[in-house]
């Protein structure tokens, strides 16, 4: 028997869910609101929620002071590049782990995941020194490679779980039907794995986009992405909340829009295997 749910109960659940949702979203909303305030309004006590003089001057000044387009293009290049490079390496890896596992496959997967358990700062020094030695500090390509390596375990794990869901017999059937390895991948596997590959791409793009530790530590001017753009508004001349908010809003806007339009894929990607 299904559990009886009264209308009151439903209404209550709805209110609670919306409240939690609002609570989670509030910091972002507050940032966006603050970006339209004057600096004085931004630090007013008690805080003003909506009744302030809306202004675009923060945006104008941020655009004037920094080269937003360069930060944005660096972010796109670093996040996009590391994700695509990661996928190219991870697909064959996940493939062989899912379909021709060896006795050590499980160990390798766990070992890969264990690298995520190390605090990033633990390897900051060696990597920083390596970058200096190789002359690739503040270099976009170096950052693409580093972020790719950092997210690779997650990419492989995600793809591995997706591929595991594809029944091996279907691939064997295609082999019996005369498909070569290339045709098997092209006509049978990829179409079946498209949702998985898409959500993996998306999630890792977002992770790379938001990555701040390495991007802040290993860049200064040339390779600096939007995380550095935000950071540049925080300290030196004291705190300018409104401008900082404007910069933040501009930094998160692209990924927020991307996430909004692809939320279905994302939810599926994140809960895959858990709800089936």
């Amino acid at each position: 028997m299904a559990r009886a749910v009264t209308n009151q109960r439903k209404a209550l659940n709805t209110v609670i869910a919306w409240s939690i949702g609002f609570l989670i979203f509030f910091p972002i909303l507050w940032t966006i609101l603050t970006s339209f305030k004057t600096e004085a309004d931004a630090i007013a006590n008690p805080p003003i929620f909506l009744g302030f003089d809306w202004t675009l001057e923060n945006y104008a000044e941020v655009m004037d002071r920094s080269n937003y387009a360069r930060f944005l293009s660096n972010s796109i290049l670093i996040a996009g590049g590391s994700t695509i490079l990661g996928i190219i390496i991870a697909i064959p890896a996940a493939w062989s782990m899912a379909f021709v596992p060896s006795r050590r496959t499980k160990d390798i997967l766990l070992w890969m995941l264990s690298t995520k358990m190390l605090p990033a700062v633990g390897v900051l020094y060696p990597i920083y020194l390596l970058c200096i030695q190789l002359g690739v500090l503040d270099n976009r390509f170096a950052l693409v490679v580093i972020l790719m390596l950092i997210n690779l375990p997650i990419i492989v794990w995600m793809l591995y779980t997706y591929f595991r869901e594809i029944p091996g017999e279907i691939l064997e059937a295609s082999r019996m039907d005369g498909a070569s390895l290339k045709e098997e991948i092209l006509y049978v596997l990829t179409p079946m794995a498209v949702p998985g590959i898409a959500s993996t791409l998306l999630l890792n793009f977002i992770l790379a986009w938001n990555e701040a530790f390495w991007t802040l530590n290993l860049t200064s001017v040339d390779a600096a992405p939007l995380t550095a753009f935000i950071a540049s508004y925080s300290s030196p001349e004291g705190l300018f909340f409104a401008k900082l908010s404007a910069a933040s809003t501009m930094a998160i806007a692209p990924i927020l829009i991307l996430g909004w339009f692809s939320q279905k894929q994302l939810v599926r990607g994140l809960t895959f295997g858990a709800v089936k």
Binding site: P167, E169, I170, E172, A173, S174, R175, M176, D177, G178, A179, S180, E183, Y187, V188, P191, M192
Partner: protein, 334 residues
Amino acid sequence: MGQITLQQVRKAFGDVEVIPPLDLNINDGEFVVFVGPSGCGKSTLLRLIAGLEDVSGGMISIDGNDATALPPAKRGLAMVFQSYALYPHMTVRKNIAFPMRMAGMDQAEQDRRIEGAAKALNLTDYLDRRPGQLSGGQRQRVAIGRAIVREPSAFLFDEPLSNLDAALRHGMRLEIAELHKRLDTTMIYVTHDQIEAMTLADKIVVLQAGVIEQVGSPMELYNSPRNVFVAGFIGSPKMNLLTGTEASNRGAHTVGIRPEHIDVSATEGTWKGTVGVAEHLGSDTFFHVHVEGMQEPMTIRASGDLTMSHGDTIYLTPDEQRFHKFDNAGLRVE
């Protein structure tokens, strides 16, 4: 053509030898069934023939050509899987067309064959649906259709009916038998169900632990099982196997008598016992009888109108001519 010969074929996974060296000859047009308990290596053997697994030794030849090292696609065989293994993202039409598309066949010929297969398998109305929208029986027919259109030299079936319910299974069994009669192509069929084996096969290969226990026609296996394992495996209900005095009196280590070769009486007979469970099937009744002095209950097949039930005394008389005798190694003695 579809003659398949296995010479000293063996398969090991690591240190575990699942199929010790084995010889088998399958003639063109034959319907061969591999039967055995689960884990006996019958599916592995089929996969070796298909090329989905590599042999660890020996040679497989198809129509006289060495196929041992050929990839599955080059062997000219078609396979129907237990899970149907349809391509979920393609319509029925595209599923059936896939092997022809891979072979680069021209579109008109593809369409002609799809129409033909769809008509033969009652799939004409479903060609534009996806596998997810079909019932189990229809999916199985699509899988068969995909195999037929290639006009392979042999069909391989890996427990194709075990995912279907009982009624459908019977219907599909008839369809497969019908298909074999019509196409007259070699078919190799793997099952653990000895009824499927008996009803479909020209030749049954009984396997246990990777070893061929006996090869023969269904009636050969039924009438003269080569050893105790085959005697117990072929036939439903199972043959009654007796050891001890009953066996030594008849000059053997083990004797076997089939449930249908024992007469039943309420008044007199060779053995006296009590009825344990009586399974009334309508046409037949199976009695499980506890005979005095025997450890295992005996199974008897009697006419459906016999009305004995639990606890009744029953007399049994075996047909002495029908006893199967086995020596202490389990091998048949005449």
